[in-house]
């Protein structure tokens, strides 16, 4: 009796379940008009105000698809091609002492509710945020801006409180920037900090279609008047992508499954093994940044071994160099990325324009660079790392690994430091360390042990790198344990509450040689005593007069001045000499694309936009995608 009822119920459920594959994946929206992107699990799903705290830096499409500002930089681009004038019609114009910036705006751009975009919106954006501390860009505006003038509806003049040759970068999108507020909307709002902006008014080509109140998905729709936007103006035909779906696709395993089920076109990040699985099981329906191994897209951030310079003995550059020479970078590359790592010996990410601006020109200098170990000098640089890694991964990937060293360098980086335990030992002895059996003792006679902090869960590849480096150090007599900080990672780094850590402390424009993006905050003025929280850069608390001089010089040259590259090189050389942190590699992101419905994704060969849905310039990818002709 009971069994029969149960069986009937099970059958009914199964009957309901069977058609799920045949059914539309998204109710009411044709799959071949929608691009499905990995999005976040939103907590405040009904919140679309980009300017309130927590509202900016959204990864649900709001800033990527509806926001716009004056200029964009493609982190993958090089030279002039990396620069895009968006709402501005031209590059910024500064006066001679960099206390005034004038911007010309484009005409014919409209908000999605039909109101025209004008200079008043720009002025309103600045004034409102200054008036409301706590809004996203309130602080930088307050620090920099004396006043904003609008001589005519297409011109904005910013009068600055002090000279600042990089003021325009506040309005230049790499990942995000100060988005322009719709004046006509916010004017009617009592408190811009508590206004949800739901639905948001769009200044870009897409507009909110619908969203999940539980925060699992948001759907954006192509504007009917997509041509009246800065991005639309440049297009010669309507984008094929009519709908953009940001969906929370779950943990990395679920993401892989969903892509292989063709329910997720764009993945933001998965582990290398997940990537390899897709490459193995779905090679015909997937595209990657590199056509084969190492697949990954290098983000312009620089995972490094950070040392807290306020904690002895990490204030000693010989110790830092010794630790660098104890690292076998090939194992680190294999352990963290299964070899798919883009190695970096210089203290700037090996991506975008940095390759041609810094890495390639400095190879010779690196090869000849000498380190004095106290007893002798060595030349630690090894330009053949790429070939060595290629040899390691060849058994697995075979023909996908080219033999041309230039191609290999594009995949695995230009080179890195040779492992040299002997030299490292000499450096440690130079710093007053002694070896007791297989254990290094600090000058004070206590064992040299290290706690190496990693984030752990959200950035697994760095945790993996951490464990392998810890093992290498431990085997050489420096007991190292890996400490998972989880959500407290950022704070502990900011507060100087660590000895050593694996994280990034350098990020760049990617598409521009200017290093002010991170370098500005490395000035010793901003260094706090141990235990106090610092701005989230210069996490190593590296203090050096020569560095201050470079920073101060950089402030006085223009953004596109050739001197920028010279100063950049000065910084890079100083960083090699001091080794304030050990740069390891670019942050490689595995972001495979499903080509079942869409083609024309960016790649290393055609890097017209960044790979990965978090980047705002993904919007350039979305409008460029083409429907796959072979899809029914």
């Amino acid at each position: 009796m009971h069994f029969r009822k149960l069986a009937a119920a099970a059958f009914a459920i199964a009957a309901m379940a069977m058609p799920v594959a045949a059914q539309d994946f998204i109710a009411g929206i044709p799959r071949n008009e929608a691009l499905i992107i990995q999005g976040p699990a939103a907590q405040n799903a009904e919140w679309f105000n980009l300017w309130a705290p927590g509202g900016g830096a959204s990864t649900n499409g709001n800033q990527q698809l509806t926001a716009d500002t004056l200029w964009w930089i493609n982190p993958e681009g090089t030279g002039d091609a990396a620069w895009t004038n968006a709402l501005a019609s031209d590059k910024p114009v500064y006066n001679d002492d960099f206390t005034q910036m004038t911007v010309k705006l484009r005409e014919g751009i409209f908000w999605s509710d039909g109101v025209e975009f004008t200079a008043d919106d720009v002025k309103y954006t600045v004034d409102t945020q200054i008036a409301h501390p706590g809004m996203g860009w309130s602080a930088p505006f307050t620090v920099n801006v004396e006043s904003v003038e609008v001589p005519d509806r297409n011109t904005v003049v910013f009068n600055l409180k002090a000279p600042n040759s990089r003021f325009h970068t506040l309005f230049t999108v790499r990942w995000n920037a100060a988005w322009i507020m719709p004046k006509h909307v916010f004017e009617t709002v009592d408190d811009p900090l508590t206004y949800a902006a739901n639905p948001p008014v769009s200044l870009s080509a897409y507009v909110l279609h619908s969203y999940d109140t539980a925060g699992n998905w948001v759907i954006w729709k192509l504007r009917d008047d997509w041509q009246r936007t800065s991005i639309g103006m440049g297009l010669d035909k309507a984008p094929d992508v009519k709908y953009v779906v940001y969906r929370n696709a779950g943990n990395p395993d679920a993401r892989v499954i969903e892509q292989m089920n063709h329910n997720l076109d764009v993945i933001n990040d998965i582990a290398p093994e997940g990537m390899f699985t897709i490459a193995r099981d779905a090679p015909d329906t997937t595209a990657y940044w590199f056509p084969g191994f190492p697949f990954a897209h290098p983000d312009p951030t620089l995972p490094s071994v950070l040392f807290n310079h306020q904690v002895a003995p990490f204030d000693n550059k010989d110790v830092r160099w010794a630790l660098a020479l104890l690292i076998d970078i090939r194992s680190v590359a294999m352990g963290s990325y299964r070899g798919a790592a883009n190695l970096a010996a210089l203290s700037t990410p090996p991506t975008g324009s940095a390759i041609t601006d810094y890495y390639q020109p400095m190879q010779e200098w690196l090869a000849n660079y000498e380190v004095n170990t106290g007893t002798r000098t060595i030349k630690p640089y090894d330009p053949t790392t790429a070939e060595q890694i290629a040899a390691l991964v060849k058994p697995q990937w075979g023909d996908q690994i080219p033999s041309d060293p230039t191609q290999l360098k594009a995949m695995f980086g230009e080179g890195w430091w040779k492992t040299d335990a002997a030299a490292a030992g000499e450096l440690l002895q130079k710093a007053g360390f002694t070896k007791n059996g297989n254990q290094w003792m600090k000058p004070d006679g206590t064992p040299f042990t290290i706690k190496l902090m990693v984030e752990g869960d959200a950035i697994p590849t760095l945790a993996r790198a951490g464990t392998i480096i810890a093992q290498q150090w431990s085997m050489e007599g420096i007991q190292t344990t890996v400490d998972v900080a989880g959500p407290t990672n950022g704070q502990r780094l900011g507060g100087g509450d660590y000895q050593a850590a694996i994280y990034w402390t350098v990020e760049t424009w990617g598409g521009h040689p200017d290093l002010s993006f991170f370098l500005e905050s490395y000035h010793s003025d901003f260094i706090k005593p141990a235990g106090e929280i610092q701005p989230p850069r210069n996490l190593t608390r590296w203090q050096d007069e020569r560095l201050d001089q470079i920073i101060e010089a950089n402030r006085t040259v223009g953004f596109d001045d050739p001197k920028v590259v010279e100063l950049g090189m000065d910084y890079l050389k100083l960083a090699v000499e001091e080794m304030p942190f050990i740069p390891l590699m670019a942050y490689n992101k595995f972001a495979p694309f499903d080509t079942t419905y869409w083609t024309g994704y960016p790649s290393a060969a055609n890097p017209y936009a960044a790979s990965g849905p978090n980047w705002s310039n993904l919007r350039y990818m979305i409008v460029a995608l083409e429907a796959n002709a072979t899809t029914p």
């Binding site: 998204i26 943990n251 900011g494």
Partner: protein, 334 residues
């Protein structure tokens, strides 16, 4: 005063005392948490942009003020209770300025729906099988299913969920593996929506059932094996009462009474969410909210969820204490 009223007053006092102590403890622990919501917000707002250190300092001060995090821990404790008594947990710090209450309220229906269903299913199935296995001890089918349940019992929830996800979402992809309902489907009492809810809820619910069934099964089986030797059961057997009736009315019914208390407690715990399952299947419930809150240092949110959970467990225990005399005719309050 009448004895019952006296009992009620005492029980009420204890009820409030439990809530007061529990919530205070939770407040204390949450406030000891080193994750600083201001730093989390600052990090989020600055991590991707060009950052001017002077601005960051300014931003930090502004947020500190905005979040109302100034004052001593005692001040915050007092104002916390003031708000809780008004049913307000303040604004969420990670989803500022959305009130914590409205975050919880939007996650709660999902969690309650999923967990209540799964719990009732688990409870019913676990107790039924446990009672049958305890009563018909020589039945081979029951022995086998008992062994299967026993083997499943120690397997961690995450593994069970993962295996189900793989099996029914990938190898034989018949069920959606993520989210609470189909995208872009209008919520409402429509066939499509309800079907979608059921389909999306199946995997997480199945996980919860498989995870939870063992506990009920084992305790029920041992309860029943004790009851079958009770005089009234032996007497009914001597009286030729048919065995189906003995099983249902004499054995199972008596054994179920203590299990009801367990059910009530578990129902109270529903408000804490099913963290791992929600996390794995991306189910938009309280458990996922809680984890996000913990990760982002949103202790208003964590405290809100914890407080709700404490209150609901206390209420569940309170209610079962009051209702028990009605369920079990033998029990008298005193």
């Amino acid at each position: 005063m009448d004895g019952f009223a006296k009992y009620l007053v005492r029980r009420f006092f204890q009820f409030f005392l439990v809530i007061f102590l529990g919530v205070s403890l939770a407040f204390l622990i949450t406030n000891l948490s080193p994750v600083d919501p201001v730093e989390q917000s600052v990090a989020l707002m600055t991590s991707f942009g060009a950052t001017d250190p002077r601005s960051v300092e300014l931003m930090r001060q502004a947020l500190q003020e905005l979040y109302g995090l100034q004052g001593t821990i005692l001040d915050q404790y007092v104002s916390f209770w003031g708000r809780v008594l008004r049913g307000d947990f303040g604004p969420s710090l990670s989803a500022f300025p959305t009130p914590v209450m409205s975050l919880i309220m939007s996650a709660l229906p999902w969690t309650i729906g999923l967990l209540t269903l799964a719990l009732v299913l688990t409870w019913t199935l676990g107790n039924l099988l446990g009672a049958l296995a305890g009563y018909y001890r020589s039945n081979l089918l029951l022995k086998l299913s008992g062994a299967a349940i026993m083997a499943l019992h120690p397997v961690p929830a995450y593994i069970i969920g993962l295996v189900l996800l793989l099996a029914l979402g990938f190898i034989w992809p018949v069920l959606p593996i993520s989210g609470g309902a189909q995208m872009n489907l209008q919520p409402g009492f429509t066939f499509d929506y309800i079907r979608s809810l059921i389909l999306h809820g199946t995997l997480p619910a199945l996980t919860l059932v498989l995870v939870g069934i063992g506990g009920w099964f084992i305790s029920m089986r041992s309860l029943v094996s004790n009851i079958v030797t009770d005089d009234h059961v032996v007497y009914a057997e001597l009286g030729g009462v048919n065995s189906g009736k003995i099983f249902s009315q004499y054995v199972a019914r008596n054994a179920l009474l203590p299990q009801l208390t367990g059910l009530a407690l578990s129902l109270g715990n529903v408000f804490g969410g099913a963290v791992i399952t929600e996390f794995l299947f991306n189910y938009p419930g309280v458990g996922r909210l809680l984890i996000q809150g913990i990760y982002r240092g949103d202790y208003s949110l964590v405290l809100g969820v914890t407080t709700m959970s404490i209150i609901s467990v206390a209420v569940a225990v309170f209610i079962i204490d009051l209702l028990y005399p009605l369920i079990d005719p033998r029990v008298r309050l005193g």
